[in-house]
């Protein structure tokens, strides 16, 4: 992006060996009888100004990763460095201050906007909590924010229910922008929108990124959207990273059998786009008791003996391409 080679860009966020286990209580005294291993030892980084997407199906841990970075859930272990500070070592107060730089946009804009507050109040609150602009300038700042996301200044006086889904998502974006963040986590931010509206919001996100040098962590299950918005893509399966690469490599030269199956499963309306479909059998196993060895071996069409016993490591297979698979390496 913007002419600077990816390698020279500064690393904004570095996630190292992150684990997020959720206890399952049960038995006589409500003891912890097991864990859901939602995110199980993942390491990756995001560079300043880029868009990294996390893709995967339900239960792969993509949303949990986003929540862990914001410390909405307290991670089990690992470290998360944001601008060279370990987020997990910060106290409550410091973390709140740091959240100014880390904003989030959720899937359902209606559920994340208070129905009893006007848009002006909702945005004003974000400004007040982080105290980014003096009180007397807040109104003009809100007008400016609404302008950035393509809403009229009169919208300030209106309530969330008066807006359409696409407009509500714009309000969610304005709220995230309010505090001049550095990193925005978009958790299925356009998934609930119709395609014609989704396209408007995607274009908006891209232009805001250029305008404010934003960094996005984009969580989505829609690979078409991901191809459009990302610089790099990370594929997750059952709490593990199976492949990370720049966009071009992921979509044109996917290496992991799961990535290939995922890409081939999506119906594409193009007669020229002939591909071999890899139809996976069965369902995703339970994250409570994930399979030994490679997590994907129970559904992998190329499974070998080694896959059933040994967990493959995420290894560099080409420049800007890492993959966790015994067969590929």
């Amino acid at each position: 992006m913007m002419g600077v080679p990816a390698a020279e860009k500064k690393i904004l966020l570095k996630v190292d060996q992150l684990k997020q286990y959720f206890p399952i209580k049960g038995g006589f005294f409500g003891r912890t009888i097991n864990h859901v291993k939602a995110v199980d030892d993942i390491t990756f980084d995001i560079k300043q100004g880029e868009t990294l997407s996390i893709v995967g199906e339900s239960g792969c841990g993509k949303s949990t990763t986003g929540r862990a970075i914001l410390r909405l859930d307290e991670p089990t272990s690992g470290s998360i460095h944001f601008q060279d500070r370990d987020l997990l070592s910060l106290g409550k107060k410091e973390m709140r201050r740091t959240r100014k730089d880390l904003q989030v946009i959720f899937q359902d804009p209606f559920a994340s906007l208070n129905p009893r507050q006007t848009i002006g109040k909702i945005l004003g609150e974000a400004l007040a909590i982080q105290n980014v602009v003096p009180k007397e300038n807040r109104k003009s700042r809100i007008e400016e924010l609404l302008g950035h996301v393509g809403l009229r200044p009169e919208s300030m006086e209106r309530y969330p229910h008066e807006f359409s889904g696409g407009q509500r998502q714009r309000i969610g974006i304005a709220r995230a922008l309010a505090v001049d963040p550095k990193l925005i986590i978009c958790d299925e931010a356009v998934s609930a929108l119709d395609v014609s509206i989704q396209a408007q919001v995607l274009n908006l996100l891209k232009s805001l990124q250029r305008q404010f040098d934003l960094t996005f962590l984009f969580i989505s299950h829609d690979l078409g959207v991901v191809r459009h918005i990302s610089d790099r893509v990370m594929v997750m399966y059952l709490g593990k990273i199976v492949e990370i690469a720049d966009k071009k490599s992921i979509f044109e030269k996917p290496q992991h059998p799961y990535t290939r199956a995922l890409l081939s499963a999506i119906p594409v309306p193009n007669p020229v786009h002939e591909r071999e479909r890899i139809l996976l059998t069965g369902d995703v196993p339970s994250p409570i008791d994930p399979p030994n060895g490679c997590r994907f071996h129970t559904r992998c069409p190329f499974v070998q003996d080694i896959c059933k016993t040994q967990l493959p490591e995420l290894k560099r297979s080409a420049q800007n391409h890492q993959v966790a698979c015994h067969i590929v390496s």
């Binding site: 395609v195 989704q198 396209a199 829609d222 191809r227 999506i266 119906p267 309306p269």
Partner: protein
């Protein structure tokens, strides 16, 4: 799969109108649509939220909640007989037997306190003269057919013990248990992950071939239409704007809305710097524009578009479009505007 052979038509919808009467006014959710379904084919109905596609599917089985909804006019000919004149009792013997339906959310459409097998067996016993044991055996057979592993065991499980993909398979087993002639699938894979979606679509295709069932597939996903349908109707604001062969719509779309929809789709098969969008939003159902309902968002709109609603007209052997651009009036309107100097 020819469009004009009446003998092959199993379902024919003519000028169907479904209205909702609420405090805010009358919403013409389905506003005069006509289409037909041939034996064994798959017709896709696509559109965005509020286009009326789901209300169309519910209307076909007369499942519109009344009040506030009402089928205000038109006819639905199933094997030549109008479903709108049937008694409720006659409808009950058709639903699930000759025409069945699969919904988006299998969890809410399955009864949580009965096992999967019991629910399928109930549907079978309701429509066929079979004993309890035989119906159960048939239910297990159906589960095997839709690809559920160890069906004897799964038949005894309740819906919450099954995964999302498996629940949708149970719904399909139930819908196909009586070998219906028409299957209406309303967003059958929208709630599922793509790898599971691929399995379910493959399953519907195979079963359709085996049973010769005609399928109406309601979806918002153009990729799904491309890969599964023979023909497609694009709906916008309660009307069909384009009705054509499924392949045609991607290679040669006609209506400005269809073109806009295709352009705003982020594509897996190509790089796009910026997506072309359709400006604005869908009009409110209580405050529809007087003319073409897409006119306020259409880049080509002229005064004629704002004044009168265009009819759905054939512009080729298998393509119908409702747009003034494809009518003789368009040229005239164009010349008139030239004269005034617009």
């Amino acid at each position: 799969m020819m469009m004009n052979q009446d003998a092959d038509k199993i379902l024919e919808v003519k000028n169907l109108q479904t209205h909702f009467f609420t405090d805010e006014g009358t919403s013409k959710a389905v506003n005069g649509i006509s289409f037909s379904l041939n034996k064994g084919e798959t017709l896709g109905i696509v559109g965005e939220s509020g286009s009326g596609k789901s209300i169309t599917s519910l209307s076909l089985l007369r499942l519109i909640p009344s009040p506030p909804g009402k089928i205000a006019g038109g006819s639905i000919l199933f094997k030549g007989e109008d479903l709108l004149t049937k008694s409720e009792k006659q409808m009950r013997s058709i639903r699930g037997n000759e025409i069945s339906m699969i919904f988006q959310e299998p969890m809410t459409s399955l009864n949580p306190v009965y096992s999967a097998g019991e629910q399928i067996a109930e549907a079978i016993r309701l429509h066929q003269k079979l004993g309890k044991k035989e119906a159960w055996d048939k239910a297990v057979d159906m589960l095997r057919l839709v690809g559920i592993p160890s069906p004897e065991k799964r038949a005894k499980q309740e819906p919450h013990e099954l995964s999302g993909g498996m629940r949708q398979r149970v719904m399909i087993a139930m819908a196909l248990a009586c070998h219906p002639e028409v299957l209406i699938a309303d967003e059958p894979t929208t709630a599922l992950d793509v790898t599971i979606q691929a399995q379910i679509l493959e399953l519907i295709k195979t079963l359709q071939k085996d049973f010769g069932t005609a399928v109406i597939l309601i979806t918002h996903d153009l990729g799904v239409v491309y890969e599964t349908c023979d023909r497609v109707a694009v709906m916008y604001a309660g009307k069909i704007v384009e009705y054509t062969l499924a392949k045609e719509i991607f290679t040669n779309p006609k209506h400005p809305y269809t073109i806009g929809l295709l352009n705003s789709l982020p594509r897996l098969d190509m790089d796009q710097v910026e997506l072309t969008t359709i400006p604005g939003t869908v009009p409110s159902p209580y405050n529809m524009p007087k003319g073409c309902s897409f006119a306020p968002r259409c880049a080509h709109a002229k005064s004629i578009c704002e004044q009168a609603v265009p009819d759905l007209q054939a512009i080729g052997p298998s393509t119908e479009v409702s747009c003034w651009m494809f009518t003789p009036q368009w040229e005239k309107a164009y010349e008139a505007q030239e004269k005034v100097g617009i």
